[in-house]
Symmetry: C2
Amino acid sequence: MTLSERKLKILRAIITDYIETAEPVGSRTLSRKYDLGVSAATIRNEMAELEEEGYLKQLHTSSGRVPSDKAYRLYVDKLMESRILAKIQRESLRDNLMQKFHEVQNLLEHSAEYLSQLTDYTSIAMAEKTKENRIKHLQLVPVDEERILVVLIMDTGLVKNTLLRIGEKLDPRELQKITNLLNHHLQGMEIRKVSQLVIENIQREFYEYRRTIEMILLHLQEVVKEVEQIDVFFSGTTNIFNFPEFNDIVKARSFLAMLEEKELIKNLLTLPDQEGLRVSIGRENLYDIAQECSLVTTTYKIDNRTIGHLSVIGPTRMDYTKVVSIMIQLNKQLNDLLRDNY
Amino acid sequence: MTLSERKLKILRAIITDYIETAEPVGSRTLSRKYDLGVSAATIRNEMAELEEEGYLKQLHTSSGRVPSDKAYRLYVDKLMESRILAKIQRESLRDNLMQKFHEVQNLLEHSAEYLSQLTDYTSIAMAEKTKENRIKHLQLVPVDEERILVVLIMDTGLVKNTLLRIGEKLDPRELQKITNLLNHHLQGMEIRKVSQLVIENIQREFYEYRRTIEMILLHLQEVVKEVEQIDVFFSGTTNIFNFPEFNDIVKARSFLAMLEEKELIKNLLTLPDQEGLRVSIGRENLYDIAQECSLVTTTYKIDNRTIGHLSVIGPTRMDYTKVVSIMIQLNKQLNDLLRDNY
DNA sequence: ATTAGCACTCACTTTAATCGAGTGCTAATT
DNA sequence: AATTAGCACTCGATTAAAGTGAGTGCTAAT
């Protein structure tokens, strides 16, 4: 059943007002503040019906009304007009990103920083640690007599390097030899599949350096574990204090504590495999603690493989218009950058 | 003027109690809870004197008393007995660190995590970005036709790598040649001193690759800026909510906002060049916002050059005994680790 | 020098009174 | 039939007043 034009108009006004003020909105205020062409009494009647239909909630009998998650959903899907960012802002966005573009990890982090500044909400950057990371290149770099640096480059652009203390002395030429050998065997291989068997095969072929090779590869397996750890970055976490709904210590605390639960955050950001922009509102989120929040999330891919997510999190009373339009722009710019570089 | 034995005893009891309860302590409670051998009235008189001498403060005429920063200073310097950690805990500390030891950056971060867990306060890890970073080794790694990875290893153990899009195709052998050349010229050099002049010198000597070399070295200069950024890591930030003195939203917020000021944090952690453990209490800190906090900080060095700081921050009513003894242990273990590895 | 006794202080808690934005219903109006 | 004005009622929020109790300083007794 669809809502009448007038009801939509009223609902939109209520949502707009509530997003702005965080106060339950009543019929009188509404009729005074917005030019709806009907009297407060009429609005009252419509509001009563909107409540029956589940779009509004009343905190107690004599209070104004507050939009429900269902209302926000309608608003996001149908009612709001997403603003187009001014060209100047778009360009400063691009410059800002270009400047920071050195590593994929950092790119996401910098984007998150920028995003929280632009939106005044908290933003989250998460690097997806797929289990299908393939080895693109492996390089052994001499550091001093005792130690080498193992540099591991993944096809997703992820770079990981770790110091390894090696028993024997190896001159650079030998190291390069081993590097070449390892690359020959490992390039394109999924990093998880570097099993004992593979190690033994390589060792057999290059018996002279079997000990060194074993050390390196065992080390690699340790690194894998680290690589698979979730890598989450936040920006603007204290922005949450700006919102009256988090203005009591318990709420603020549980919000910040939620952010520390990396597993939970991961699940919040990776839910369904939807294209483009995803808005999840209040109780649509499966976790209790997140049910007073909304998230706007975008997913980034290289060659159709997910490499990370960027998200804005705030109260359900979020300025969806602002956030969505900013994220659409950022999304475009980032995707261009990624396409050009990978 | 030194305090009488009895006054010290009373003062210690007051501090202990206040650290435990966060409530102003009165003479009656004191005489009941601690076995001081004198009556509440006597304690009252002594407390009045301690207040005159600046060790105690009264929030209002009819409240109990609270230790001043001066009292905490005395406590830390003279009164508290630092506990020795049980051997088992020491060993788990060591295991925990060994396991995580891959990179210097991470080592500090992991230590911070561990520290906040052990102490229940907030901990800070800061990697010192000295301007005297010297280049230990530089390695160019082929990634694909268009791009190379520049791996920069500093003598402090810091490793930085960045992707560089290079115009022309270079085969691995050529890259190695350039790598060798660059190392020959740059090893041991302070990274800041890689000036235009140096670049030109190198280019002259190896004219064939002058464009590539220029790109790499200009890129390096960008990286320098990044390297010099302050690198601060926090753990257990929400622990602050555990303390009643931060139980109002304004205090909690300003504490968390303070943590976001990297410059300020940097200055808090690097103040005087004191050996070993440094405790700075309340108003001893130069920044307004930090004046309700105390910090316990240790500094880490390699070859007498500072590489980072580890700190615990909490209310001035901090359990100094606990924090100091934990940090002394951690300090030992970490220094051992660093000595063995650098 | 120490301590018991006592009047006094003052933040904090509890209870009561008041206020006002908002509602639902009814009757009048368009 | 739809809209609106009018009105009694609800209920959280604010303000005011009264009561509570841990603590203090002073005095006089030990």
